[in-house]
């Protein structure tokens, strides 16, 4: 973990209520896809956690969905703004377990960290299948970006306005894959874990006090006792969790 100042270089809406921020600055504390950052928002007491969607040595990309007051305020941030960020938080995904044909499942605001994951897996020569779930066509984002990485992409929408109609679970052919990675709303993750016969890991969300392990605000129950989403997580093995 490292406290860094990032400058907002690009900020645009990419789907309904969904924005992309490209930020420049020190990313040296990022080591795994699936790690996250805690962004300090002027006028708000607690920092906001966001997964790193992608990064290089010069900066990182975040994608956020407008959910409450903080993310609403973020939409007004302008190019050139400096953001105080705790970077390199959490464990991230375990690339070593992927097998040859990993399945990546993302729902809504859970899609961003899968992009970096997919990129690294593809670079390792894996053939990733990406299932992206949204409520409706207007919310879909990053389909093209995943395709550009060379992944097979299946889009699902709840209302059927695009791609497969229904839940991501309806579109997951677990039997064709050896391992899965998932990030999204809790009900989606629970459903996936109970349906999937294959091993896999999921990235959890929890309201956080600190984001770096100090406050015990974000504990989730695991087979070995409570663990911190921000420190031992956000990625947990399917088998470790006690829902």
């Amino acid at each position: 973990m490292k406290q860094v100042i990032w400058e907002l270089k690009e900020h645009r809406q990419i789907a309904k209520n969904t924005y992309l921020m490209r930020l420049s600055g020190d990313t040296s504390s990022l080591v795994n896809p699936g790690q996250f950052v805690e962004v300090s928002l002027p006028g708000f007491y607690l920092r906001r956690p966001f997964s790193v969607c992608d990064y290089d040595e010069f900066g990182a990309t975040l994608i956020y969905k407008v959910l409450g007051q903080g993310t609403k305020a973020m939409t007004r941030y302008e190019k050139g703004m400096k953001l105080d960020v705790l970077c390199g938080l959490g464990n991230g995904f375990d690339l070593s377990k992927s097998g040859q044909k990993p399945l990546l499942v993302g729902g809504g605001a859970g899609v961003p960290p899968l992009y970096r994951l997919c990129k690294e897996l593809t670079n390792m020569g894996r053939q990733a299948t990406v299932v992206l779930g949204f409520n409706t066509k207007e919310e879909v984002f990053f389909e093209q970006e995943f395709l550009a990485l060379g992944a097979e992409v299946i889009v699902c929408t709840m209302d059927g306005s695009k791609g497969v109609k229904g839940l991501v679970t309806d579109a997951c052919a677990f039997e064709n894959h050896s391992y899965f990675y998932a990030c999204g709303p809790l009900p989606m993750l629970k459903a996936l874990c109970s349906l999937a016969k294959i091993p896999g890991e999921v990235s959890l969300e929890e309201r956080m006090g600190c984001g770096f392990g100090a406050c015990m605000g974000c504990a989730v129950m695991t087979k070995t006792g409570p663990q911190r989403v921000c420190k031992e997580g956000p990625v947990f093995h399917k088998e470790a969790l006690v829902w």
């Binding site: 973990m1 607690l46 006090g209 100090a214 015990m216 605000g217 504990a219």
Partner: protein, 303 residues
């Protein structure tokens, strides 16, 4: 040269800045970020007799200039703390630490304090009779003078080290409770613990925290904390440790003028992991700005 040293119950601190319990874990996360030996001391996570898994999540909610927590005293239990955490602390911090203790009965407090009192690294016992986040927990002890005094008296019987009672601000008359603890033998008082607060989730229309209420901390509570430190300082002879929203060197000075011998920094650590270090670094500048050469000399200066 300015002098930042203070003496707390006979133990010399290089400066009055301590990290507050529950916001600094057992120091490990912070020691990875900076050398925590720059601190006067720190109070480790509230420790109970048995291990506790804490409350269901969400445990945290945001408020204007502050936060609510309902962690519920998640901790590995006193034995693990002694076996695993204290040796860990020994590697990163070489001054006495403050052992924060919670309980659900007088005998709980006595057991845990007795065990921790024997640990070399422990400088003080900070007995939390004011945790609002456990049902039937410490809070009930801290809201009545008689029960706060009882815990104090019993714990004092088994401890050689200074016993500091951590008081609840959720009371009509904190002075009465402070005096009762002093009368029962307390060597010092810590105040304040969190104010009882609440938030709702407008989408679900239910309490945001499944525990319903949570403890309010952060800058929002600073004026309440300062008032209580001022009132209690005036009424007792034992040292007072001030806390509640402290986030800057100026806040430390304000707390000390109100009567604090040492000052704890809590929530600020969570939003700025370097908060304690930054405050310590900034103290000489702030002291110079307000013509202070020795911090010890300003304790209670506002009276």
């Amino acid at each position: 040269m300015v002098n930042t040293q203070v003496s707390l119950c006979g133990i010399r601190l290089k400066n009055p800045v301590m990290a507050a319990s529950g916001t600094f874990g057992f120091g490990q996360e912070f020691a990875r970020l900076y050398d925590i030996n720059c601190l006067g001391s720190f109070s480790f996570k509230g420790t109970t007799l048995h291990k506790r898994d804490g409350n269901p999540t969400p445990r945290i909610a945001e408020t204007p200039c502050g936060m609510l927590n309902a962690v519920g005293l998640q901790n590995p239990g006193v034995e693990k703390v002694i076996e695993e955490e204290l040796p860990g602390i020994a590697k990163i911090f070489n001054a006495p630490v403050m052992a924060n203790v919670s309980g659900f009965s007088v005998s709980d407090y006595v057991w845990v304090c007795e065990l921790l009192d024997q640990c070399e690294q422990v400088g003080w016992l900070e007995v939390n009779v004011s945790c609002p986040n456990v049902h039937g927990g410490g809070m009930s002890f801290g809201t009545q003078a008689s029960s706060a005094a009882e815990v104090t008296r019993e714990v004092k019987k088994v401890c050689k080290k200074p016993v500091i009672i951590k008081l609840s601000p959720n009371v009509t008359d904190i002075v009465e409770i402070a005096k009762a603890c002093e009368g029962a033998g307390a060597d010092g008082l810590s105040l304040i613990n969190t104010l009882l607060g609440m938030r709702l989730n407008l989408k679900t229309r239910k309490p945001l925290l499944p525990f319903v209420t949570g403890g309010l901390s952060g800058p929002a509570v600073f004026p309440v904390a300062l008032r209580m430190v001022y009132q209690v300082y005036k009424a007792v002879k034992i040292p007072v440790i001030g806390m509640g929203g402290v986030s800057s060197a100026e806040d430390v000075i304000e707390m000390m003028l109100a009567g604090a011998t040492a000052v704890q920094v809590g929530s600020a650590n969570l939003v700025n992991p370097y908060a304690c270090r930054d405050i310590v670094k900034d103290l000489p500048r702030a002291m110079a700005e307000y013509n202070i050469t020795s911090l010890e000399q300003i304790i209670g200066g506002a009276h």
